[in-house]
């Protein structure tokens, strides 16, 4: 056979038809490398438990999302400052009767601190991740990551661990001090992917009509920009040009999702900025996101799927209002909106009182009798103050309520 010249080789390649069938044109799959390392005895790969459902990622790879037996890797921003975000996630698992675990042997990923201050290093960050994953593995439950930053950070660390033997060796040495193996899950799964997967079942249990609501979606940067190929996409949603999570769920429960020009912009969180230089956070959040949405769409609500986004977009609006800027959009997570649609108590579960931008007009538009439930919640607080009740439990919060009654 005659050898082709370089130019002929290029022409030969170009003459081939573009393969558009994802199952034929196999994309890079991190799991191949994970299984190779496992076969060499370097790591343990925790398998996604059955039953799971496969969702399509950006370039066509099918990602396994577990239905249950989930180890809820909580977010410090949710639990510290927006607890209704975390309780809405757990509440929904309970509504579907799915087995899950709310562990206390989990630490933060510490990624927020790392992105804010860099007061750590690759080995430190990888060890924190690996310790959490080993803790999940010990229980037999599979990690479901609540925080967008943890999700992105862990995916990036997974890449580093797979590609750098010296880092793996160092992390194994550190984990050895606490008797833990180096475990990496087969998939790194964000809770909003789980919500996306469950959207039809959420709609089946929906008791609150949301068809009068127009919402904008802020996709969280660390969900879909870091290790972009691992985020969920759907050709039916934005023509497959933006991540499908959040938007697909909102559309399934009847919310009108409106588009706006600065959808790709971040929320202004900045990690360091939101804590010690908030002039940047406030300005960016209001000028590039909230005011743009107001001017272009005037939504009843903005929905996102990460801790920092809810915080910056919600809390930045007060100071802007003092400067007569065009603000006043309540901010919720997809987890909270889905819980509301299914009749979760607005205060015992969704914890609206932790949000500062006025959410009452949104609930009024839905016809939710929020005052009734606020009064009921105040009764709970009175009992806690009086010492006749130690706190609100799932027993108080599990039962869906008639929100418009």
């Amino acid at each position: 056979m005659t050898e082709l010249t370089t130019v002929e080789q290029i022409l030969e390649r170009k003459s081939h038809p573009v393969v558009r069938d994802a199952s034929v044109a196999k994309t890079h799959d991190m799991r191949d490398l994970l299984f190779e390392l496992e076969a060499k005895g370097e790591i343990i790969v925790q398998r996604v438990p059955e039953p799971y459902f496969e969702m399509t990622t950006k370039y066509g790879r099918k990602k396994k999302i577990p239905l249950e037996h989930t180890w809820h890797h909580k977010s410090c921003g949710h639990c510290g400052h927006l607890p209704g975000y975390a309780s809405s996630i757990l509440w929904r698992h309970r509504q579907f009767g799915l087995d899950s675990l709310d562990p206390t042997d989990q630490t933060s990923c510490t990624g927020w601190n790392y992105y804010a201050s860099a007061a750590s290093n690759a080995a430190g960050q990888a060890s924190v991740m690996a310790r959490n994953f080993a803790a999940a593995y010990e229980t037999g439950y599979f990690p479901l990551i609540h925080c967008g930053t943890s999700f992105g950070h862990y995916k990036e660390i997974r890449e580093q661990l797979v590609h750098h033997k010296e880092l793996r060796d160092e992390v194994r040495r550190i984990l050895g001090k606490m008797g833990k193996p180096l475990v990496i899950p087969e998939e790194i799964v964000h809770y909003s992917e789980w919500v996306h997967m469950m959207r039809d079942r959420i709609a089946e249990k929906q008791t609150l009509d949301m068809s009068m609501i127009t919402a904008t979606v802020h996709p969280a940067c660390h969900y879909y920009k870091i290790v972009a190929e691992d985020a969920i996409y759907d050709p039916e949603i934005y023509g497959g040009q933006r991540t499908a999570v959040v938007t697909a769920m909102l559309e399934t429960i009847g919310v009108n999702v409106a588009d706006y020009s600065t959808w790709f912009d971040c929320c202004g969180f900045g990690f360091r900025h939101v804590l010690v230089q908030r002039d940047f956070t406030r300005s960016f959040s209001v000028l590039r996101k909230i005011e743009t949405m107001k001017n272009e769409v005037n939504p009843d609500l903005t929905v996102t799927h990460d801790t920092g986004c809810v915080t910056s977009l919600d809390k930045s609006q007060f100071a802007a209002k003092a400067h007569d800027r065009k603000v006043g959009i309540p901010i919720l997570s997809d987890a909270q909106v889905a819980a509301l649609a299914m009749g979760a108590h607005p205060f015992r579960v969704i914890q609206f009182h932790w949000h500062s931008t006025d959410w009452r007009p949104f609930l009024d538009k839905l016809g939710v009798n929020w005052q009734k439930y606020w009064d009921e919640f105040q009764g709970d607080l009175d009992q806690i103050r009086a010492g006749t009740k130690s706190g609100i439990t799932w027993e108080d919060a599990d039962k869906p309520v008639n929100l418009t009654g």
């Binding site: 400052h81 550190i174 790709f264 202004g268 900045g270 010690v276 932790w354």
Partner: protein, 235 residues
């Protein structure tokens, strides 16, 4: 000054920090370049500007992820030092810049630059992180970045009267959360087991994190070391 063969320096920066020797700047640059992640984060630069167009910090500061990728790729030691001293703390770490068609990760380069700056105790970095120490204290000791008791009106006046209302009701509101791991916890985001915290402290010591803290803030280092060591000894 007329351009001659001796001073011809195409695209290279002027010496804006003459108080630091070229040898020291080069040492810092090599520390960045030798980081295990450097080759994953930089592949070259088309100068297309996509990273700048998507960068939130570029809108509000004199800051450019493209300049960072360019200076690193050219190995422009002077300019890289300028970036360390003047630019890195403007980055919002959103990673919008990874839209780069060359697969560069300017945000990732910034994290390496920040790490090197911290490890070498640069004053500009200490200044940028002033006021941040209480967060480091929280995350390293409690295993959580933020906690309800950090939400105080003095620290968040721009969040309006909600912070005051929250602060006054914090103890009760925290008991009114159905999750067992959160209910009643005010000094952390959730209840973290003691054994887990000891494992976290082990990671900080073993991974070299404490050395970084020592360079940043010696008083914070002393405080953290004392508490963690005492806890670890107690077992």
């Amino acid at each position: 000054m007329p351009t001659t063969l001796e001073n011809w320096n195409p695209g290279k920066a002027e010496n804006r920090h003459p108080d630091v020797t070229y040898a020291e700047k080069e040492r810092l640059f090599l520390e960045v370049k030798n980081d295990v992640r450097f080759s994953d984060f930089l592949y070259g630069c088309y100068e297309c500007g996509i990273c700048v167009a998507t960068c939130p910090s570029a809108r509000f500061y004199d800051y450019s992820p493209r300049v960072i990728a360019q200076a690193m790729a050219r190995e422009d030691v002077e300019r890289v030092y300028d970036i360390i001293a003047e630019d890195i703390w403007n980055c919002a770490q959103c990673f919008s810049c990874v839209r780069c068609p060359r697969q560069n990760n300017p945000g990732g380069l910034v994290t390496i630059l920040r790490e090197v700056s911290l490890k070498n105790g640069l004053q500009e970095t200490k200044d940028a992180l002033q006021g941040y120490s209480r967060v480091i204290y929280k995350v390293m000791l409690k295993g959580n970045q933020v906690s309800p008791d950090m939400l105080q009106p003095d620290f968040f006046p721009d969040w309006g009267p909600w912070v005051g209302e929250f602060s006054a009701n914090m103890q009760i509101w925290r008991k009114a959360i159905p999750m067992d791991s959160i209910r009643g916890v005010t000094d952390a985001a959730w209840r973290v087991d003691r054994k887990t915290l000891l494992e976290l402290y082990t990671i900080w010591f073993e991974s070299g994190n404490m050395d970084i803290i020592k360079e940043l803030d010696e008083a914070l280092y002393d405080l953290l070391t004392e508490v963690m060591q005492e806890e670890l000894e107690e077992g």
